[in-house]
């Protein structure tokens, strides 16, 4: 049944959220040391959205996400080592090091796309969902994208197609209030983006993106509805990213105190407090989880750095299948 998660799973989520948080912190560190180059878009603060949503998926379900997709990839089960190797451009990376930070992909885990083009992942997820429907497969698709992405044409096109064809897809807006340096209201004629579902006769639901239990419940329900043939939904996760947009962004555009206010509702803390209160994971045990995760992350980064780099000639096989 949608929305009920047993205690063990929730303890698992707690660990996953720390894995994402500390993975991202490590990425930042490795950047500073030059082991990772280019750019990266970190998702600290948004862990409940990734973990709560992904945990609603069943075997065979798929999702697409974005350049800010480390959280979803890890929640789907990508190992930190695979992620670090990708970021270091090594062949042990999920995309063999040719993809990089913006393309954590693993089809065996249902991660069928991390896209560096804003809005491009939505129609692809609609297509996957349509394909399941046409083939009579019982699967569905999620697609993650930002508040800024709701202003680009593919958003509108994808929602319309999904609604017309009643494809089993759930649209998940990770509304972290900013598209790059632009506050939502300077670019977007809607405060509550869930409202953008209405013209398509589709449920548009505002979700507390800081509470993994709530996220899980809402995504599970929407995915069940979608698979039952009742059509797609648009879920707006209200959340916040702790870091700037990308590596080079000091995030000066934030209102004073805004970050601090959001940290008071940190998604890991919220779940941690509940688990402690419910007697499922004590404060000490939580500290222990964090320590273990940190050790695993550190070890993973070290192992990843040992992986070789492909030759350019070896990458040729990834260009064409035939």
């Amino acid at each position: 049944m949608a929305g009920t998660a047993d205690s063990d799973r929730r303890v698992g989520w707690y660990r996953q959220m720390w894995t994402i948080r500390l993975f991202e912190e490590k990425v930042q560190e490795l950047f500073m040391s030059g082991l990772i180059q280019g750019t990266t878009h970190l998702c600290q603060g948004q862990e409940a959205v990734s973990v709560g949503s992904i945990s609603a998926m069943q075997p065979g379900d798929v999702q697409t996400n974005t350049y800010r997709g480390h959280g979803e990839a890890l929640a789907l089960g990508m190992t930190p080592e695979t992620g670090f190797a990708e970021l270091m451009g090594r062949s042990a990376g999920g995309s063999k090091g040719v993809g990089g930070s913006m393309h954590f992909i693993d089809t065996s885990l249902g991660n069928i796309g991390a896209n560096a083009i804003v809005g491009a992942g939505l129609p692809i997820a609609v297509g996957a969902a349509l394909s399941f429907k046409l083939q009579g497969k019982p699967h569905g698709a999620l697609t993650f994208f930002g508040d800024g992405a709701t202003n680009i044409g593919t958003f509108h096109e994808a929602l319309n197609m999904a609604a017309v064809w009643k494809t089993p897809v759930v649209f998940i807006i990770t509304n972290n209030l900013y598209g790059e340096y632009s506050p939502q209201m300077t670019t977007t004629a809607t405060k509550d983006l869930a409202r953008r579902a209405d013209p398509f006769g589709m449920p548009g639901i505002i979700v507390d993106g800081q509470d993994v239990d709530v996220v899980h419940r809402e995504v599970s329900a929407a995915l069940e509805r979608a698979k039952a043939g009742e059509g797609p939904s648009l879920l707006e996760m209200k959340t916040y990213r702790y870091r700037g947009h990308s590596r080079t962004d000091p995030a000066k555009y934030r209102a004073p105190g805004e970050l601090e206010a959001w940290k008071l509702r940190d998604p890991i803390d919220i779940l941690g407090a509940k688990l402690a209160e419910e007697g499922l994971l004590s404060a000490d045990a939580q500290q222990q989880v964090r320590t273990e995760v940190q050790a695993a992350i550190d070890a993973a980064a070290e192992r990843a750095a040992q992986s070789p780099v492909l030759t350019l000639e070896e990458t040729r096989q990834y260009v064409y299948a035939d």
Binding site: I112, I124, A128, G153, E157, Y318, D322
Partner: protein, 339 residues
Amino acid sequence: MSTLTEAAPVATTEPEEVELTYREAVNAALEDAMAEDPTVVLMGEDVNADGGVFKTNIGLPERFPGRVMPTPICENGFMGVALGMSITGMRPIVEIMFADFLPTAGDAIVNQLPKYRYMSGGQFTVPVTVRVMSGGGGRFGTQHSATAESWYMAQPGMRIAAASSSQAAYELLRASIRNNDPVLFFEHKALYPRKGPVRRGTIADVGTAKVLREGNDVTILATLLMVERSLQAAEQLAAEGISAEVIDLRWVRPIDLPTIEASVAKTGRLVIAEEQWHEGGWGATVISELAMRGTPWKSAPRAVSLPHDLLIPYSPTLEDEMLPSVDRIAAAARESVGR
């Protein structure tokens, strides 16, 4: 979940010689591909209604219920949908009503279809075929008359076919659909009513050009409607004692340089007949590749193209003047042999 379309063809088409219009040949290729492989679907604007806008899809909605799918008007969106279908077990064919609408789907064509497999380190195959109705001469005006065959030729990860006859339409479309990578497949609007023999069941090789008429004095290389005009020019030239070899390029990506080189090694002369501006097109690329190989020309290569720095007008007489004609092709060939 494997992303390969694992469904082996469930049927094969019996080889059969028939006489078909170009339009019917496209239809036959679609029909045979859909009959052989249940994962093949056809989608696009109005593809299901009244045989489709150019009547290439007659009978398909009835024969394959649910597999001829009309879409809303949103080229970038439904091209992305096709991509999503292709990596989850299907083999979609997308119809783009006018080549000029390809840029509306620009991101899907440049950043998604050809790169999707690569970005994943080879985890996906992307068997999407994009059927594009192209070409001028229809008095459709400047936003509806492009061939567009070269617009995306620079992009690795995708292939580009262009059909010049009924047989070519049939076998190249079959090859495009079978191929496990994205293919842009170009049809020419002016050719739909042309009739010609078709060997049904044939599937073309990817990447091979075809010598349609042998000759010794000059090679004429063309695509789409220009192939027909080149063959007509070759007739004119023959009457004047000039022996022209006519090659149908067929694949704009990859370009079959060996076939072209072999011909030019024999004739020493080359005329490009292209319904596009010379800048940035396959014609310029062919000449450049030959030049870089040190081809010993008997006379400088020539190109008959859309006139430089003019756009395609609606006005019928002007449009006719704009497009490369049989006479202009013949004249270029004549010049190249010094007459």
